[in-house]
């Protein structure tokens, strides 16, 4: 079991849904995908590097033949995979506090979902439907989502100044360098080993 790699936590969860309800969820996700402002809270939380929801209809589990028995299920299933920074408790707390309406719109169609507020039964539900990761890899284990965003800000600013730095007069360079430092100074936090969680 290996849910953590560096500063990232891999969460997996599966919840049963009555098949007719999955179409409501699909409609919600369709709107969420096409109306970007609705993703603002998800973006602003800023500790999720990648996340996805996958609806598996009860009759669409991959069937490869060759002695595999076809599944006979009554429910469709909602799979959730998240790559987030921080601890499990911090993640669920933040989700419950900031994204409760959005979460409820996603999971209220799943059986026995208690709602994301209050947080105690919500955590009990997540703990019940979560299953562990056997192998977890990330290309940049020392970096959080904010580190990655900040690094790209710094690189863009550096390229912008670097593209014409040699052609500036010393006085022009001084002013351009000042603007560069002001632009990147809040994006220079160092990366490294994740803090130990107790």
């Amino acid at each position: 079991m290996s849910n953590i790699n560096g500063k990232v936590y891999a969460m997996n969860a599966i919840t049963p849904m009555r098949p007719w309800k999955t179409w409501i969820l699909r409609a919600f996700f369709f709107v969420l995908a096409h109306v970007k402002p609705l993703q603002a809270d998800l973006v602003n939380l800023s500790f999720i590097q990648f996340a996805r929801w996958v609806v598996i209809p009860r009759n669409r589990f991959p069937f490869l033949g060759k002695n595999q028995q076809p599944e006979e299920l009554q429910y469709d299933y909602l799979l959730f995979f998240s790559n987030f920074n921080g601890t499990w408790n911090q993640y669920i707390d933040a989700f419950s506090a900031v994204l409760s309406k959005g979460l409820d719109l996603v999971w209220r169609w799943s059986e026995k979902f208690p709602g994301s507020v209050p947080v105690t039964p919500f955590k009990q539900y997540i703990a019940r439907v979560q299953f562990d990761t056997d192998y977890y890899y990330t290309s940049y284990p020392q970096a959080t989502a904010n580190d990655v965003k900040a690094a790209h800000v710094v690189e863009d600013a550096l390229e912008s100044l670097g593209s014409h730095a040699a052609s500036l007069s010393p006085e022009q360079f001084r002013e351009a360098y000042l603007q560069f430092v002001m632009a990147v100074q809040s994006h220079l936090g160092s990366t490294g080993e994740a803090p130990t969680v107790f």
């Binding site: 919840t15 990648f50 996805r52 991959p62 790559n83 299953f131 790209h152 690189e155």
Partner: protein
């Protein structure tokens, strides 16, 4: 397309594991035993193959029963989940995996029903696509950068922090000219530097924390 966000692809595979009562240990346990031996840092097979931001392999034993009044039901197979966030062009990604880490792929997927092996590349590609699930909603915090772009940016960020720490904003013309010369040279070095190896963790040997835990309540 819901599988893709910008230039990042969210690939989800659900591969049925061979259900053979005579296998000892069972195939799902053999997968878990092998995965437990794989390094998760720069020596990871996914660090050797191109284009993986993050990947996970999970043996899903069964669906979850959430309690009454829901119905209790069970899967007839266990499934191997392969979830990866990779640079787009899924054919190129699968081909890169097949060419870079064929032994690892065969060691894991040979326990899955219908897996043809990587030697027959067209059959391998067909198998992987047959096991693919369509993502319903995919979110990527940064969705317009490749793995190499991000590794280089993180490296550049550290270099810029060091440069600024030793090069405050110059006051006079002579100081500005000196800083300018050093900045131009710094740019040349930064741009020429190769990207760091993916998966690289700070620290090494005894300094590296061996246990990467992460239970539900951590």
């Amino acid at each position: 397309m819901a599988n893709q966000s910008g230039s990042v692809y969210g690939l989800t595979l659900l591969c049925p594991i061979v259900n053979d009562d005579r296998a000892v240990p069972s195939h799902d346990l053999q997968i878990r035993e092998f995965l437990a031996t794989l390094p998760t840092d720069e020596r990871s097979p996914f660090a050797l193959a191109p284009g993986t931001h993050m990947a996970r392999l999970v043996v899903m034993d069964d669906v979850v029963y959430v309690g009454m009044p829901a119905c209790e039901e069970h899967l007839k197979s266990k499934y191997l989940i392969f979830e990866t966030n990779c640079d787009a062009d899924i054919d190129a990604y699968f081909t890169g995996l097949a060419r870079s880490i064929p032994e690892h792929l065969d060691a894991v997927w040979s326990h899955c029903t219908g897996y043809p092996g990587v030697r027959d590349l067209p059959a391998f590609l067909s198998y992987m696509k047959a096991c693919q699930l369509e993502t319903t909603f995919f979110f990527a915090a940064v969705n317009d950068k490749s793995v190499t772009d991000t590794l280089k940016a993180l490296q550049t960020q550290r270099a810029v922090a060091d440069f600024i720490a030793t090069h405050p904003v110059p006051r006079g013309a002579a100081e500005a000219a000196a800083t300018q010369r050093e900045f131009v040279e710094f740019m040349r070095i930064v741009q020429a530097a190769p990207a760091p190896r993916p998966g690289l963790r700070p620290g090494s040997g005894a300094n590296r924390r061996a246990i990467q835990t992460g239970g539900h309540n951590e």
